[in-house]
């Protein structure tokens, strides 16, 4: 017999819900079987924390006196997007502060960009606004400067077009020189292999066919509350899959939104990626309602069963050849080294597993204490594999 989200919420309100993390559910399903686990467990919490470049924040600055239709603006010298209404702006996570040397001195350090600005705002720090305009009859002001904090602006929402990638490549370097990529520093001749997923804790790997995660799903976002707004850009579900249904290539993504004012710099951290650019590390946790056996079985997936593809970032990735060098499991990646054609290659993550675990635990506590209820998705996200199964 299945459960509904409404029934699970009743149990959460009564303080009776059984909530476990995506790590804990592995042992439960192993010990009791999926059928009993589906009856006993109500919610499985997941987590991930890693650089997510496709992130940013909408802010309404409130009006200056006299009023101004902002044409160009900078916050802490980071240019912000102004091509919307008079005082609405968007901070892009990878935008660099003016006069940053970028990669002129290679590899560039990218010390301060949009991600750092968002972190500073969330940390309550004062940032400096500079705005210019051409003046109109209704908005005569042409220049505006002021210091502000997050508390001073009218609205501030984190709105990220693509986050929480369902699986990702493992990056290596086959060339004979060091390369600097968004996947970190890659030493020559297979010197290291970098990966970026929380594996068995990762939200979308635990609901591989998007049976529960949809538009309107309430989530842990940046330390506060957010929602799944839509599927993310580049969302792709036509990919090879393993036994749990989990994709073995980069696949689904989500677009997320939430009030920046409730978030924390611990889970929204500005990153400087050497030789590449600035970014924002985002913490996301998604609760998976255990509706039935299928759901809990998929959520019990373990690192040993989750596979990622190894890609050469010196040639194949930049040239888009589509060539893969092999496949490895997350269990191998997390052991500290992988074996590629007989060569032992040390691994390094970019996604923090310890912080992913912290997020899953935190979300579990929120739900167990009745402070976080599950929401009913308005519509599920597109997924060809699920739609074929149902249809």
């Amino acid at each position: 017999m299945g459960k509904t989200i409404a029934e699970i919420n009743e149990r959460i309100k009564r303080g009776e819900a059984v909530v476990v993390t995506a790590e804990e559910v592995i042992g439960i399903v192993e010990e009791k079987g999926a059928e009993r686990a589906a009856q006993e467990v109500d919610v499985v919490t997941t987590g991930t924390f890693g650089p997510m470049c496709s992130s940013g924040a909408f802010i309404n600055l409130g009006h200056a006196q006299p009023r101004m239709k902002i044409h160009r603006a900078w916050l802490n010298e980071v240019p912000v997007f102004c091509g919307i209404a008079a005082v609405d702006i968007y901070i892009g996570a990878t935008e660099m502060a003016e006069h940053d040397p970028l990669n002129e001195v290679f590899p560039g350090e990218f010390r301060y960009g949009g991600g750092h600005l968002i972190e500073d705002l969330v940390a309550g720090k004062t940032v400096h606004l500079r705005a210019t305009s051409y003046g109109t009859d209704c908005y005569p002001n042409r220049a505006w400067e002021r210091d502000l904090t997050l508390a001073d602006v009218k609205e501030a929402w984190l709105f990220n077009p693509r986050n929480a990638y369902q699986n990702y490549n493992v990056a290596v370097n086959l060339s004979d020189r060091v390369i600097y990529t968004y996947m970190g520093v890659l030493r020559p001749n297979l010197g290291n292999a970098n990966y970026c997923s929380a594996g068995q804790l990762s939200p979308l790997l635990n609901d591989p066919l998007f049976r529960t995660i949809g538009i309107g799903t309430r989530i842990f976002l940046g330390g506060g509350i957010g929602y799944v707004a839509w599927h993310g850009t580049q969302h792709n579900t036509e990919v090879p899959r393993g036994p749990s249904g989990a994709p073995t290539r980069p696949a689904g993504t989500i677009s997320v939104i939430g009030d920046l004012k409730g978030m924390s710099p611990r889970y929204l951290t500005g990153y400087s990626i050497l030789g590449y650019g600035a970014s924002l590390a985002v913490g996301i946790g998604i609760p998976i309602p255990v509706l039935d056996e299928e759901v809990v079985r998929a959520a019990a997936v373990r690192d040993e069963e989750l596979v990622a593809a190894v890609v050469d970032y010196s040639h194949d990735y930049p040239q888009g050849t589509g060539k893969l060098l092999g496949e490895v499991t997350y269990a191998e990646l997390k052991s500290g080294s992988i074996n590629l054609d007989g060569k032992v290659v040390p691994t390094a993550p970019l996604s923090s597993y310890s912080r992913a675990r912290e997020i899953a635990e935190k979300l579990k506590d929120w739900i167990a204490q009745g402070r976080f209820l599950l929401s009913e998705p308005v519509e599920l996200l597109p997924c060809s594999a699920r739609e074929e199964e149902v249809g």
Binding site: E109, G184, V185, L186, P188, A281
Partner: protein, 135 residues
């Protein structure tokens, strides 16, 4: 008699030359190798404790520098700002020693400054810039 701890950075083309052995032969210096490794850029990194007469030490270091080897005192200190470290693990790809390593059960990245040779490779690689140089 003087005793100094120094970090030597060997450029790529000098890695296989017998530069250090000359210190013993021509400058009467004694050394202990505290750490030796090849960095990702194929540069050599050697941390030595050198003892000898002050005069010999100065001349020995002048000789080494003339071969393109940089000499830094090991007084500079790399520290981790634990508040900023997100335990992402990006530094594991570059640290030439065991100073930065992962605890595989907690998946936290541990920093052991006893093992650190102050090569600074982690400093710019760390995305939240948690590794700091203190002088």
């Amino acid at each position: 008699m003087v005793r100094h701890k120094v970090v030597l950075h060997f450029p790529h083309e000098q890695v296989d030359k017998p530069i250090v052995s000359k210190l013993v032969r021509d400058y009467n210096l004694d050394f202990n190798i505290l750490k030796a490794s090849i960095t990702p850029r194929e540069e050599g990194l050697l941390v030595l404790e050198i003892t000898g007469e002050d005069d010999d030490y100065q001349r020995g270091m002048d000789y080494i520098k003339s071969r393109g080897v940089s000499v830094q005192p090991l007084s500079q200190d790399i520290r981790r700002n634990d508040e900023r470290c997100t335990h992402c693990g990006a530094c594991l790809a570059v640290c030439p020693t065991d100073a930065l390593r992962a605890d595989r059960s907690t998946m936290e990245v541990l920093f052991d400054d006893e093992e650190c040779v102050a090569c600074e490779l982690c400093v710019k690689v760390c995305p939240p810039r948690a590794m700091e140089i203190h002088y």
